[in-house]
């Protein structure tokens, strides 16, 4: 029978399957080469680059105002945070003081984005584990947040709202009332989320003890964000190196010691509640004043190197700019959270089942354009 011919098995009698670049559970064009022994995974090898658009190289030919917006297409679910990171780096180079109002607006927008990103992740996790319904519940709330974004920024996904010196426009007059309404709605729905997925026996069985990564391993693979915090690594940039208005608000850094898929799940669920609390603290006290500091029409950074990091929904995003004094950067490098988090996947999925691989990928919360850039 041709099926068991040598083209299916390797010399060692291993069964190799290619998950992706088009596969329902890879959330984009990730290609995983998986060596199997029956259902058990012996080795996983991620193949990257299917959606490489050379955003870093493109930035070298764009002005300091324009290159920010290319980053919206990296981690498209944290477009605000990506833009913010670039804007902060440019401001660092220019030594511009951002108005207090713009700082608060940036923080509010970033937290709304984090909420909507985590909601999408929650829905997709359910989908990957075979429960289709959470996806629709997650999108109900995400839709409301997207509505707020559309009103103020003019776009729903790639908002392009941050500019060097502040934000592009002032807030829409409806912003405060609408955000309060949406936050109230989301707070009511957390219980529903828990009923639908968190407390489910099958869900706990599928995630507890699956995809374990220790604290030491998480550090040495360079994991950041909720993934590292689920292994007990304190790495919240908002807390450790506060930027924008994060020094004005009280929030907890969520840590867990489980290190498995369930811990990662719980960390993100708790982070959503923290985001809600940050928004509640800021929404009533948005300071009056300018929303944008005055900058020159053509921005030129002084000669030198500038680095700024922010906490996106997936982890630490670092922006490194080398300037030679011209109107566009000499070199741009992004340290994207997903690339490092993905690099731990082969380590985490060794000895797991195929079903576990899907669960692990879901809880890493991959966004492939951010890996390939």
């Amino acid at each position: 029978m041709s099926l068991l011919g040598e083209d299916v098995m390797t010399e060692d009698g291993e069964f190799v399957i290619n998950m992706g670049p088009q596969h329902p559970s890879t959330h984009g064009v990730l290609h995983l080469k998986v060596w199997l022994d029956g259902e058990i995974i012996k080795k996983v090898q991620p193949h990257l680059g299917y959606i490489h658009r050379s955003i870093e190289k493109m930035s070298e030919n764009l002005s300091y105002r324009n290159f920010i917006f290319a980053t919206s297409r990296m981690d498209y679910l944290s477009a605000h945070m990506n833009n913010e990171a670039c804007a902060l780096t440019v401001e660092k180079g220019l030594a511009v003081e951002v108005p207090a109002r713009a700082k608060v607006i940036r923080t509010l927008m970033a937290e709304l984005t984090r909420l909507s990103s985590h909601q999408l992740w929650w829905g997709c996790t359910g989908l990957d584990l075979g429960a289709v319904t959470p996806f629709f519940y997650a999108f109900r709330e995400r839709e409301a947040i997207n509505g707020i974004m559309e009103e103020t920024c003019g776009a729903r996904l790639t908002q392009n709202y941050m500019v060097p010196g502040g934000v592009m426009f002032d807030l829409h007059p409806n912003f405060q009332a609408r955000t309060k309404e949406v936050i109230k709605q989301i707070k009511d729905k957390f219980d529903e989320y828990d009923q639908l997925l968190t407390g489910n026996v099958i869900f706990e069985q599928r995630t507890k003890g699956v995809g374990y990564i220790s604290k030491e391993d998480a550090v040495s693979w360079g994991c950041t964000g909720p993934m590292a915090r689920a292994s007990g690594v304190s790495c919240d940039i908002r807390k450790l190196f506060p930027y924008s208005a994060y020094d004005q608000v009280k929030f907890e850094e969520i840590l867990d010691t489980g290190g498995d898929c369930y811990a990662r799940y719980m960390v993100r669920m708790a982070e959503m509640k923290q985001s809600v609390s940050i928004i509640e603290q800021l929404i009533d006290t948005i300071p009056e004043g300018e929303f944008q500091a005055k900058t020159k029409a053509v921005i030129k950074l002084p000669k030198g190197e500038f680095y700024q990091r922010v906490e996106t929904a997936r982890g630490e995003l670092g922006v490194y700019i080398v300037s030679d004094g011209a109107a566009s950067p000499y070199r741009v490098k992004y340290r994207s959270p997903n690339f490092s988090n993905l690099s731990a996947l082969p380590h985490m999925s060794k000895g797991a089942k195929i079903g576990d691989l899907v669960a692990i990928m879901a809880t890493i919360d991959l966004v492939i354009p951010d890996v390939d850039r």
Binding site: G130, A131, T133, I202
Partner: protein, 330 residues
């Protein structure tokens, strides 16, 4: 005989349209959306439109596949699921084939579906299909045991394998009420195990969309794919109908002890309405947990059967035997 068979064929196709529509509507309302609502009144003709589309689609056969087995597999699936319908009693005095080993026949024929799945997975020349077929083989063979044992509990109470006898024995009350706790346990085990047997979520490991793209029917398209869908819905109906016949009294109306007025009113409802009402209730339950539960992993699936369901149903069988011998049931 041929005419009866053709009528049954037509009935089953129409039934699978209804089930397809019902599934989409049930799923939609559980997922806070509307479901099909454009083709025909309230979207009722959507399934017919889909069928026409599938009929006109090109049926691709992979170049390296075993063409004979590849084309045979969907037919085996549909034939096995349709054969099981024969001994079911749809209404009072309306039974196509009242065979004296009805229960045995049902469980024997329905277990043949695994041959179709294995055939499809093997002949597709696709690694995902093969994995799906392997999973399905392990799953169906294991869950067969629990289904058999839970069916036997009712056979012990009735003392007959004939489906008409089983229905008649429930004239005074359905077995799920008369048979004490063991009957309820058997009913629950039957629903869980038969959901696994017909490869529906949370036991849809053979298809496991997020893991194996579409499992054993990844390579199928057009009408051959539609036949897998057809057999899935007929299986769903058959399993629910068997549950309704054995545990919920088939076409027997609901009677409560000596409330003669109430019993009299219940008798006026046609027996076919009772049968289909009960069947669709079970179908709804199966759809309900399809759309709310995540999928089990393959080792957990087998653990559930061999470590929990099988010991429980064996003990349950002993308990039921004791009850039947001592005459404790009502």
């Amino acid at each position: 005989m041929v005419i009866v068979g053709l009528c049954l064929l037509g009935f089953l196709v129409v039934l699978s349209f209804i089930l397809g529509y019902m599934e989409r509507k049930v799923a939609a309302f559980m997922q806070i959306r509307l479901g099909p609502n454009r083709v025909g009144p309230k979207g009722t003709l959507q399934i017919i439109a889909d069928t026409i589309k599938l009929l006109f689609k090109e049926g691709l056969t992979p170049k390296a596949s075993d063409k004979f087995l590849f084309n045979l597999a969907p037919f085996i699936m549909v034939i096995t699921s349709m054969l099981v319908v024969a001994p079911l009693a749809f209404a009072k005095n309306f039974q196509i084939w009242d065979i004296n080993i009805g229960v045995l026949y049902v469980s024997a024929i329905s277990s043949m579906a695994v041959i179709g799945i294995l055939m499809a997975g093997w002949s597709s020349y696709n690694k995902y299909s093969l994995l799906g077929a392997m999973r399905s083989g392990a799953q169906i063979v294991s869950y067969e045991l629990s289904i058999g044992l839970s069916l036997i509990t009712i056979v012990i109470l009735t003392g007959s394998l004939k489906l008409s006898d089983i229905v008649m024995s429930q004239a005074g009350g359905w077995w799920i009420f008369k048979g004490h706790i063991p009957a309820i346990i058997a009913f629950v085990i039957f629903i869980v195990a038969s959901t696994a047997e017909i490869n529906r979520a949370p036991f849809d490991l053979a298809e496991a969309e997020s893991e194996l793209t579409a499992g054993f029917h990844t390579e199928y398209s057009g009408m051959k794919f539609a036949m897998f869908l057809l057999s899935e819905y007929i299986n769903l109906f058959v399993v629910s109908a068997v549950a309704a016949t054995l545990f919920l009294g088939g076409w027997m109306p609901l009677h409560i002890g000596s409330l003669h007025g109430f019993n009299h009113v219940m008798d006026y409802i046609p027996s076919s309405v009772w049968f289909f009402g009960k069947t669709f209730f079970v179908i709804f339950v199966i759809m309900w947990f399809r759309w709310t539960f995540p999928r089990l992993r393959v080792d957990q699936l087998l653990n559930l059967e061999w470590k929990y369901l099988l010991p429980i149903s064996m003990f349950n069988l002993l308990l039921m035997t004791a009850i039947a011998i001592l005459g404790w049931h009502f």
